[in-house]
Subunit: 256 residues, 2 copies
């Protein structure tokens, strides 16, 4: 079985390669982008991407550019969500947010640049580049649509969770499966896996934060049901699915 450490090493290397080198001009932009993306994060979306390439019978390294792309896209959304005009958050992961450290203008721009670099990385996918980019583009639009719904007065929880959270998981899995050379049926299986994984992840988050829109027992049931649906979707895949299966299981209680 492919190990988490092996996948994390591929992901960190790919993320580093997708960003301009430190000191490259304009150095402030490069510094702000690298600060935003950070190091040593959980990298759950890149892990899902790389393991999806393995699950369809490909090699994790085939999806390395795609795994960097999804992480850059995810991190740009966090930088914009933290802005004063949005959530007005000053701290993230125990450090000052990008706008707090570099100012609003450079935070807006660093995130914009991260989105462009995400698509540039996706386009470098050695297989099915057009489809890999399209999957990222759909999620890149969906995640914003979910956020717009989230900050509106009449936000619909189901819509918000599917788009703001699950779309990036779905894209991660689809991009990995496409980069790994998966069949249409296998890409569809992994999309189903990731949709359910993303929803389980979000409901689990609600439990941990104690702010679920549903009663606790109902939310616990949703976590269990979506975890089971995610795992069931892995049946029939030709490659090693052990990592994805254990990832889904460990998400419950968030021991990942």
């Amino acid at each position: 079985m492919v190990t988490k450490d092996e996948l994390l090493e591929i992901a960190e290397r790919a993320i580093d390669a997708a960003l301009p080198s430190e000191g490259e001009r304009p150095s402030k932009l490069v510094e702000a982008m690298r600060y935003a993306v950070g190091t040593g994060g959980k990298r759950i979306r890149p892990l899902v991407c790389l393991a999806s390439a393995v699950a369809v019978g490909g090699r994790a390294v085939d999806a390395s550019a795609a795994s960097a792309a999804i992480e850059l896209l995810h991190n740009y959304t966090l930088v914009h969500d933290d802005l004063p005009a949005m959530d007005n958050d000053e701290m993230r992961r125990g450090k000052p947010t990008v706008w707090k450290k570099y100012g609003e203008a450079d935070a807006i721009l660093a995130a914009d640049a991260l989105q462009a670099l995400a698509f540039l990385a996706a386009a470098r996918s050695p297989r099915n580049a057009g489809q890999v980019v399209a999957a990222l583009g759909e999620a890149g639009y969906g995640v914003v649509a979910g956020q717009v719904e989230d900050i509106s007065a009449t936000g619909d929880t189901q819509y918000i969770y599917e788009h703001k959270t699950a779309d990036l998981f779905v894209a991660a899995a689809a991009m990995g499966a496409l980069a790994g050379g998966g069949s249409d049926a296998d890409v569809a299986r992994l999309r189903t896996f990731a949709l359910n994984l993303g929803l389980a992840f979000q409901y689990e988050d609600d439990l941990l934060d104690g702010d679920s829109p549903y009663p606790r027992a109902e939310t616990e049931r949703l976590v269990a049901d979506h975890t089971a649906a995610a795992i069931a979707a892995l049946d029939g895949l030709p490659g090693d699915t052990e990592f994805l299966r254990s990832l889904a299981q460990r998400l419950v209680g968030r021991s990942v």
Copy 2:
């Protein structure tokens, strides 16, 4: 010769097709994006893109998705440039800017969504989709790098003009040439054309605004030199270059 009206019609139709339909959910996001992209603009970058497909011997319609992509990307940058944390502009093209009309949060998000949709459109290019996306990604990063340099205290004019302005012209031409099936040599010719066109456009802008960083006579010479270099780069292309030639000529005095 292909006419400007023919190209504009292709561009407007492609831009409309690249955006969600009015009323689609979340309707506020769709409305803000459509407001940002507008209608009846000059669409210079889409025109360069479509005419570049023709210049390499392809059909303008081959580059229709690419032409929408470059316009969406251009418009997202304008929305973010206008924000209070950036230029703090309340009016653009005689109308309230997006943040003034929809609020800062929705303006940030609408522009983010436009960038994602730009790449989604580029990925739909019927030919060379991976390279078309890569050209857009390079320009998408370059235009932000140019803007970061522009708002820094020690901004370098040459760097700013090449990236903030010319990169989008270069991408427009390269994307059109790639979508039109151009050879590497022809794509390179059109990149040279567009770099010079973009610089001539920027210096001409400085003359019109009366805020050139160089003496007026020097700026006039730069406009003339870059226009001549743009037109010279069209030599050797296999297709109809008449439109691009006349576009470069009409840029002087901005009669386009």
